[in-house]
Symmetry: C2
């Protein structure tokens, strides 16, 4: 049965302040919770229906709170909750700069929509990008909406929150890493030789890459619209643009 | 001022049945409503704040209901409504099969999430795809969530709801159009010669392309994950996959 304390705790984890204070976050749904169990990430409470519990071949060594579907609905952040919700521990991972020298890395400059950040984590996972750096103003990876949109990919992809400008300057000068960015003035991405190492900066939904970061870019890229005449008064969603850019980097790398 | 009748009308347009009956749909936000006005699409009511009205250089010849921000919030489908909402007329457009012979067309096979359908319309617009055909089970283009996610691109991209299997068979046999589909068994998309005309089928979020449609495909494509060893137990969101596929078709066409 659900205690009032658990209800209150889960609901409060919608707020970043509380997540940071308690070092906890919420994940939901059969697929994502399975990923967490299989990857042996620490779980504080597992809230599950009887139907979910009986289906498991291996249950984690943690407190399991058996609930009815309607009890689960009471605490879920989802409109149509599935059968399980896990309160997980935030494990802080250190960023090792030397690990990043020979990789492709995504940098998020003030990407604020949690759904976009989660989707970008999922894209990174597909394209074998293991590290994402994000400005402090980017949506928090432990926001329930980010976790859900990532569909469990956050288990494999690290997101590091950094002072982005400082980080990029350091990576550029110390490791001679190319810093790519998609901008409206950039060169047609399909005609550019893209490196298998470097940082790809994606800008915010409303304003693109911020001015101070623009100055650090070594190559500006552009995804050309396919229309006759002038480009439309349009843009691509940042997650969609990220997918196209990652696809093109990886396509060239496999040639 | 907002009458009770208008409040009731707008709210009811969340339902497809009512939209079909009244031939009306709702759009919101400064950008999307501007697109509608600029494209001279028929508007039945414009519900706007004073701030929005005074900024317009040209107002459409339609009934304008001046409201306060809190009144707008009362009828908006958005969490944080902007300054304007328009109740627009559904204009049925006929599908001319002969127009589709030399184009690239997207076909949606049971794509159910309205956000995905709207995002796909926006992607189609960017990549110059003018026509989308969709199975009858695909989310309705006039669903407020589809309209919002499309960011106004629905003004330029036609979405035709058809008996998809019958449509594809007809297009394949009569026009000799290639029918592409992304599947798990498909060939690496980056190594395939892609045509500048044809139909690209995208499957549903949960189940991919349905069995009866699979049989009609002339070429199966696959977006390879970039990881060492076996592919992960993962997939790409259907809108993300659509973006990558469209990008690769258009890249090859521009070579």
């Amino acid at each position: 049965m659900l205690s009032k304390a658990i209800i209150k705790l889960v609901r409060s984890l919608d707020q970043k302040k509380i997540r940071v204070e308690k070092k906890l976050f919420v994940t939901e749904g059969n697929k994502i919770v399975s990923e967490i169990i299989n990857n042996q990430l620490p779980i504080t409470y597992l809230v599950a229906t009887k139907e979910w519990i009986v289906k498991q071949t291996k249950l984690p060594k943690t407190e399991i709170i058996k609930v009815t579907k309607s009890e689960l609905k009471q605490i879920s952040f989802q409109k149509t909750p599935q059968q399980v919700l896990a309160v997980c521990n935030i494990v802080n991972k250190e960023l090792h700069f030397s690990d990043l020298k020979n990789e492709l890395i995504l940098a998020l400059d003030n990407v604020q929509n949690p759904g976009n950040v989660g989707t970008i984590i999922r894209i990174a996972d597909w394209f074998g990008i293991k590290n994402i750096v994000a400005s402090l103003s980017t949506a928090d990876i432990y926001n329930p909406k980010v976790i859900q949109a990532s569909m469990g990919a956050f288990v494999r992809v690290m997101v590091h929150y950094v002072l982005l400008e400082k980080f990029l300057v350091k990576m550029k000068s110390e490791n001679n890493l190319p810093i790519y960015g998609t901008t409206l003035q950039g060169k047609n991405i399909y005609n550019q030789k893209l490196s298998s190492r470097g940082i790809i900066v994606m800008g915010s939904e409303g304003n693109g890459i911020s001015e101070n970061i623009m100055k650090i870019l070594t190559k500006q890229l552009y995804i050309p619209p396919f229309i006759a005449g002038a480009p439309p008064n349009e843009s691509l969603n940042v997650a969609i643009a990220t997918a196209i850019v990652c696809s093109e980097f990886r396509r060239q790398q496999n040639l």
